[in-house]
């Protein structure tokens, strides 16, 4: 459904992305793994259409979308909730931009993820993990079919992060939108994704594409298996080359 072909991007003289090719199929969970500052967020801004590439095409559902906005659902690294809106008002925000939001559906989702009692609370009264859940539900409720998540859990502590990863999988398995998930954690990528793209450091090129063989539904016992560990080692080899240079 999403295909990216020969994408180049530079900020002035600073080349950030070089010949990026990738694709995301329907109902597929794809992770992009790369070091900080390699250009991952830049890639999302290109898909989101707020900046344009020098070369290459981004195709969504057979339509070229270079520079077109409003075609993806998005969840940023910071929860980016509006402090003056209640939880309920926040989750319908993205949907609100394209028409009248479905408040009933929003309430059902909040109920499902155990946030019903916080419907009328303000973000300031929520914990970090709860804010990220609200941010994710907001992305789910906007009707675009591709969900782009930019390091959504990297600001959370380890305990909350593993909880949130499990939570994300359980919600996603119920509502299988296509997902593009940026992360700099190898474990997170393996645990969540069907396929992983590994980026080099800046200027980012596509270093490897890895298919994750583990079946779903997954739970944290997967993290202790030797297969998991082996795959982690394998991906680490690619990353090591980036550190050595």
């Amino acid at each position: 459904m999403l295909t990216i072909n020969g994408l180049d991007k530079a900020y002035g003289d600073l080349s950030v992305l070089k010949n990026i090719n990738l694709h995301v199929r329907d109902r597929e969970f794809v992770a992009i793994l790369g070091p900080s500052g390699s250009g991952k967020s830049t890639l999302f801004q290109l898909i989101g259409g707020i900046i344009k590439p020098e070369h290459g095409t981004i195709t969504l559902n057979n339509e070229v979308i270079n520079g077109k906005k409003g075609l993806i659902s998005y969840m940023p690294q910071q929860p980016s909730l509006f402090p003056w809106r209640t939880v309920l008002e926040n989750v319908v925000l993205a949907a609100e931009l394209t028409g009248k939001p479905n408040v009933e559906e929003a309430k059902q989702w909040l109920e499902k993820v155990g946030l019903a009692e916080f419907e009328n609370s303000y973000p300031i009264d929520l914990s970090g993990g709860m804010r990220q859940r609200v941010s994710f539900i907001r992305a789910l409720l906007s009707k675009q079919s591709l969900l782009c998540l930019d390091e959504p859990f990297s600001a959370l502590d380890e305990f909350t992060r593993i909880k949130m990863q499990k939570w994300l999988l359980s919600v996603w398995e119920e509502n299988r939108k296509s997902v593009l998930f940026i992360t700099h954690s190898i474990e997170e990528a393996i645990f969540l994704a069907d396929r992983i793209y590994v980026l080099s450091k800046r200027p980012a090129t596509m270093k490897a594409e890895i298919t994750v063989p583990f079946s779903r539904p997954r739970n944290e016992s997967l993290l202790e298996t030797t297969e998991f560990f082996d795959l982690k080692q394998q991906i680490f080899q690619y990353i090591k080359e980036e550190i050595v240079e």
Binding site: K69, P76, F82, L93, E96, L97, T98
Partner: protein, 252 residues
């Protein structure tokens, strides 16, 4: 709430001490009342003259509220225009600053020459002194919109209009309220000054009369009511702010 009471309580105690000192000094030096009345004289005057004063107070209050509403609406409108049209901003902003350099005392008589003794020149004076804090505060509020929220809105494809009305405007509310508080204080002064220049009723009129008949105790009574009016306005705005600004850390 308790904290507020503690803070307020301390300043009230301090103020009381000052008044006692003042009372004593007037008593010891036997200063005549037409030069400097003791606080007790002022309180007596307030108590005796309250009904006579009442009409003036209401009249000034109405004038203040009307002028403040007009000034704030105009200020907010100008701020929105300037923020959303950068070209207009380049042309108009310097002019706005210049407009604040015209002394009210010079401008007011001119306005009366042009517009007579009606309501209009008074409202212009009040609006002129209170629209500027609103413009500056609102523009600052709009500009200080959290960049990550703006980035989010752009990524999900919000239009310029949506970004302004759903994000920048509500985000600027606390800032706008700060401007409003300053404007409210100015507006009372503006109203009194505009009344000095010709009106049938109002604290300004009362003050001029009191001054010309050397009733300094009445002048002080008028000052007291001006302060009371300012505090009242301030309190109301604070209340509205509490109701409207939600989910944010308590400001001062």
């Amino acid at each position: 709430m308790q904290q507020m009471w503690q803070r307020g309580g301390k300043s009230i105690v301090f103020l009381l001490l000052l008044f006692i000192l003042w009372e004593l000094l007037v008593y010891i030096t036997a200063t005549p009342m037409w030069l400097l009345p003791a606080p007790s004289d002022v309180i007596k005057e307030i108590y005796n003259g309250i009904w006579e004063f009442y009409g003036h107070l209401i009249s000034t209050m109405k004038l203040t509220l009307l002028g403040l509403s007009i000034g704030c609406s105009v200020g907010l409108f100008i701020a929105i225009i300037l923020y959303r049209l950068p070209k207009a901003n380049q042309v108009l902003y310097p002019l706005l600053i210049l407009s604040q350099n015209i002394p009210t005392i010079v401008l007011a008589p001119l306005l009366i020459i042009w517009f007579g003794f009606d309501l209009l020149p008074k409202l212009i004076v009040i609006s002129l002194v209170c629209f500027f804090p609103i413009v500056v505060a609102s523009m600052d509020g709009f500009r200080q919109t959290a960049p990550e929220l703006k980035h989010y809105m752009e990524m999900v494809g919000a239009s310029r209009n949506q970004i302004f009305w759903k994000l920048e405007m509500p985000h600027a509310l606390p800032s706008i309220f700060s401007g409003l508080k300053i404007a409210a204080t100015y507006s009372v002064m503006g109203a009194v000054i505009s009344e000095w220049l010709g009106a049938k009723q109002g604290i300004g009129v009362y003050m001029t009369l009191a001054q010309s008949s050397f009733r300094i105790d009445r002048v002080f009574a008028a000052i007291f009511f001006i302060m009371l009016l300012s505090l009242l306005l301030f309190g109301v705005i604070r209340l509205v702010e509490k109701l409207m600004v939600k989910g944010r850390k308590e400001g001062v």
